[in-house]
Amino acid sequence: MSLKKKITLTVNGVEVTAEVEPRMHLVDFLREELHLKGPHLGCEQGACGACTVKVDGQIIRGCLYLAVQANGSVVETVEGLTKSGALADLQESFMRHNAMQCGFCSSGMLLAASELVEQQPKASREEVREWISGNYCRCTGYHAIVDAIVAVLDARAKGQKIKPVVANA
């Protein structure tokens, strides 16, 4: 029964070696073996985007990508990207605009948005809507998410950061 394959990859900056079944998806490997619960499983067929993670700098669907495919790759999840500060502007902006409700889509949405911010810094509101259309959000009306991302694009264009949210004392 044991058809396990040995893989070595870097996950959030740490080298990991593991033996996995060839059928195991990357998101299941991250969640079940490495206990990284940030990426979520919404549909397990590539439609909803809740499982989005980064492999070698590019966002992918963790539910359509096998763990063995990530052998030798650099994998980043919302946990690692939070720690490195890569998502900080977007996270602060999402807080400021209430761009999340139940939060189940948020890790995927943030990773998609972060790729947009990198690749299309001059994106229009419509282009933002188009870009995040691979990620379902069932709670918000998307409006707040679009507002939050546009605010980051505007701030970046002016060379500014999004001010951290602090509770009003």
């Binding site: 979520h40 909803c48 209430n98 139940c102 379902y136 509770a167």
Partner: protein, 798 residues
């Protein structure tokens, strides 16, 4: 009189004398963890010895269950148990979901796992439990069930025909519930009307598609005979009660916990057969068992909603007054009424709500709720409101068109005026205070209606077909026990909150209403901080734990803010009183000479800071020896709130949709959407705005895209997220939201619910906008979802 102008002072009056958070767009501080991937959803939880269950579900709409062969599956690696309905029924009783106040309602006994017959595709039949999910799924392939296909009742139109087979022969027919409401002289009103318009409205079945599927972990500890259930659910106390009743346990034996819930919308407020089966397995195996539905299971086993066909008509006179409405509603609910809220509520709501905003005097409604062999339907966001609103508003537009009146002017003329409250609507619903006139004036301004009409006319000359649609709405919120309690359902309409000053001077709030993303915890923290008199940074909200929080109803019928918020307010007021009493005892002062201000007790006369909360906590918990004999510090208090003044506190609002229809392709482009909402006191504009928008987008989903499609044999054709279309960001418009604040007098907070009105109004507004765009072609589409195909058919192009 309760007219809003009289209430103006109250609207502007703060709830507390140092109000810093209520009414402000304070971010949800507790939501930060969700943005950092640190939430705790059910599937994130791992317990020692946790097993995983998957269900073998009926592949047919209706079948007789023969021999179940489990031998091969049982021998697969990691398999711990394979359990069928007969075994499960030994520990879990069946249920019949009816309500006493829905007179004549009937349903059949339903089991956690089907016995003898399965009545819809997706009904759980056999449970397979294994050490891992993958092992359970591997073994599932080897379950072999012998079956005999039975005739399926698919179409609701023929469900009551004598030739149609009976789903439950012991019930005598396929009718679950029927109701007729006739306020009198309806025929005369229609006969004497100058204008009568009528249409048949269709509403496709759709479902909630919570991004996190339904899931739970049940754990049974044989040592203390205690059941613990981690559940992605909206009503933990309701589930506790149901587990007690079905498994013969008492509340002290059952602990239900709800951590982060990944979307709910009513999908997670019902008790599903597999909920009970998973609990039963944990009891049998004496170890934790996790169930997480996959997406296909979600589509075939989550409740569906809204399969209605309604014939409606409206009567009006030449002057432009609506005289009456009449509807005939046929709806199908699947083979069983859903436990415990029942599946007759949606149709019943339609009867109550049609015509709701208007001052006509004549109304007749007929409702038939029938059984069929499809997934059971039940309460999903809006519950009858989107249907009642679309029917009402569709008819209102037809009447306005016949009268050649502007649809907005026609509405202004016919809504119940703002100074007429309290009053009853034609269906008998009691309305405390609404603001239709103010809302209509506000939306007219917001959307710059005259300019928009001009633009529409200009573009029409160029062959561009745009339409403007309105939907005026009412929404029932803050329910009293009249909703479920009087019908015998053990679902609390009251809610309780405990407020505790902790030793270091911070505040913890424990409350029965939980968080599913609405921002409930955020607004409770705002209320607590203002009412106790403390920084929001020093408030902690605890929800979703039946061992810890006061007994409450949870989240449904837009009650979180209005009912839960009031319970928090009452508990925090009482806590502040006790803080002052304790301060008085410490300082040997009369408490009436003291006040609280920002975590300090002050001398009321001089404003001098006398004691910080940290000192009150220290003495109240650790130096009670220094307090007068017989004095009890009581730094934790509990208060409960029930809204008892009205059966429900109705809210109101109006929405407008601006669309462009391409007559060559049938494509609808949503250009813009506006909403004016009156949910009483707005506790947090930022949260309520996006909740309204999210609800509108769900409403648009049902109006344009979402439908559970079945084939003639009762099999679901689109059980995946790729095939069942929910709205995505690029096809949704920007949505502008504004508020009118008419507080309810039934609470100190004055907040009404806001979570469902968006879904209530959007389908009617979008449908009317499409039909306005199609007006030059003299065609209409009243069958939702309004797909491009239906538009092209109406235009005679296909």
């Amino acid at each position: 009189m309760n007219k809003p102008s009289d209430l103006k002072g109250l609207v502007l009056d703060p709830v507390t004398n140092d109000q810093r958070y209520i009414g402000v767009s304070e971010p949800r501080h507790s939501a930060r963890r969700l943005l950092e991937g640190q939430g705790t959803y059910i599937d994130d939880i791992k317990l020692p010895r946790m097993a995983h269950v998957v269900y073998w579900r009926s592949p047919l709409a209706h079948m007789k269950i023969g021999k179940i062969h489990i031998e091969h599956a049982r021998k697969m690696p990691g398999v711990l148990a394979v359990v069928d309905g007969v075994q499960m029924a030994k520990i879990c009783k069946p249920w019949v979901a009816t309500l006493g106040h829905l007179v004549g309602m009937k349903s059949a006994p339903q089991y956690a796992l089907a016995i003898d017959r399965a009545c819809w595709q997706g009904e759980p039949v056999v449970a397979v439990v294994a050490e891992t999910r993958a092992q359970a799924e591997d073994a599932l392939q080897h379950i072999d069930v012998e079956w005999e296909e039975l005739p399926a009742v698919v179409s609701m139109e023929t469900a009551l025909d004598p030739a149609t087979p009976l789903i439950h022969p012991e019930l005598g027919d396929n009718l679950c519930f029927s109701r007729t409401l006739d306020v009198g002289q309806v025929d005369e009103a229609f006969a004497n009307a100058d204008v009568v318009a009528e249409a048949t409205f269709g509403f496709g079945r759709h479902t909630g598609v919570t991004l996190e599927p339904r899931c739970q972990i049940a754990d049974y500890n044989p040592g203390d005979k205690r059941l613990t259930v981690y559940h992605s659910q909206q009503a933990p106390h309701m589930m506790q009660d149901l587990y007690c009743r079905q498994f013969d346990l008492s509340e002290s034996d059952v602990h239900v916990l709800c951590k982060d819930v990944g979307g709910s919308f009513g999908i997670k407020v019902h008790a599903y057969p597999d909920d009970f089966a998973t609990v039963g397995l944990a009891i049998m195996l004496e170890r934790p068992v996790k169930f997480v539905a996959d997406r296909l299971e979600s589509f075939t086993s989550d409740i569906h909603a809204r399969e209605h066909r309604i014939k409606g008509r409206i009567a009006a006179n030449k002057a432009g007054d609506i005289l009456g409405f009449e509807i005939d509603d046929l709806t199908a609910i699947g083979p069983y009424s859903m436990f415990p809220r029942t599946s007759a509520i949606e149709g019943n709501q339609v009867v109550n709500l049609v015509g709701g905003p208007y001052k006509h005097q004549h109304y007749r409604a007929n409702l038939n709720v029938v059984f069929q062999n499809k997934t059971p339907t039940c309460q999903y966001r809006g519950v009858g409101h989107p249907i009642a609103c679309a029917v009402t508003e569709g008819l209102v537009d037809l009447a306005a068109q016949k009268l050649k009146m502007d649809p907005l002017e026609f509405r202004k003329r016919n809504v119940i005026p703002d100074d007429a409250y309290p009053c009853s609507g034609a269906s008998g619903i009691k309305l405390e205070v609404l603001s239709h006139e103010q809302c209509l004036r506000k939306i007219e301004k917001m959307m710059d209606y005259p300019t928009l009409r001009k633009e529409q006319a200009e573009l029409r000359k160029k062959g561009i077909y745009r339409g403007i649609g309105f939907a005026t709405l009412i929404e029932l919120t803050n329910p009293s026990p009249a909703f479920y309690g009087v019908g015998g359902a053990r679902i609390a309409s009251q809610d309780g909150a405990s407020a505790r000053l902790d030793p270091s001077g911070v505040v913890s709030i424990l409350i029965g209403v939980g968080e599913q993303g609405q921002g409930t915890e955020g607004i409770f923290a705002q209320i607590a901080a203002d009412v106790v008199g403390i920084s929001i940074k020093e408030v902690r909200i605890v929800t979703g734990d039946t061992d810890v929080t006061p007994y409450g109803g949870g989240t449904w019928a837009s009650r979180g803010a209005g009912v839960g918020g009031e319970a928090v307010l009452l508990a925090c007021q009482a806590l502040q009183v006790n803080i002052l009493k304790l301060a008085g005892a410490i300082l040997k002062r009369d408490p009436v000479d003291l006040v609280v201000h920002r975590s300090h007790v002050l001398d009321k006369a001089t404003g001098e800071q006398l004691l910080p909360f940290s000192e009150i906590g220290r003495i109240g918990y650790f130096r009670t020896d220094t307090l007068p004999a017989g004095f009890s510090a009581d730094l934790m208090v509990t208060r409960h709130y029930t809204q008892k003044d009205y059966p429900f506190i109705f809210t109101n609002g109006v929405q407008a949709s601006y669309v462009e229809v391409d007559p060559d392709t049938g494509f609808v482009k949503l250009l813009k959407h506006w909403a004016v909402e009156d949910c009483g006191r707005v506790l947090n504009p930022m949260l309520v705005d996006e909740q309204v928008r999210g609800a509108i987008v769900q409403g648009i989903g049902g109006a344009l895209f979402e439908e559970c499609l079945y084939d003639d044999s009762g099999l679901l054709r689109n059980g995946s997220m790729a095939d069942y279309l929910v709205p995505m960001a690029n096809e949704m418009p920007d949505i502008e939201v504004a508020h009118v604040e008419t507080p309810t007098q039934s609470s100190k907070l004055g907040a009404k619910g806001a979570g469902e009105a968006g879904t209530a109004g959007a389908p009617g507004a979008v449908m009317n906008a499409i039909n306005d765009a199609l007006a030059p072609f003299d065609v209409t589409v009243f069958d939702q979802p309004i797909t491009g195909e239906k538009i092209l058919r109406a235009l005679g192009k296909i």
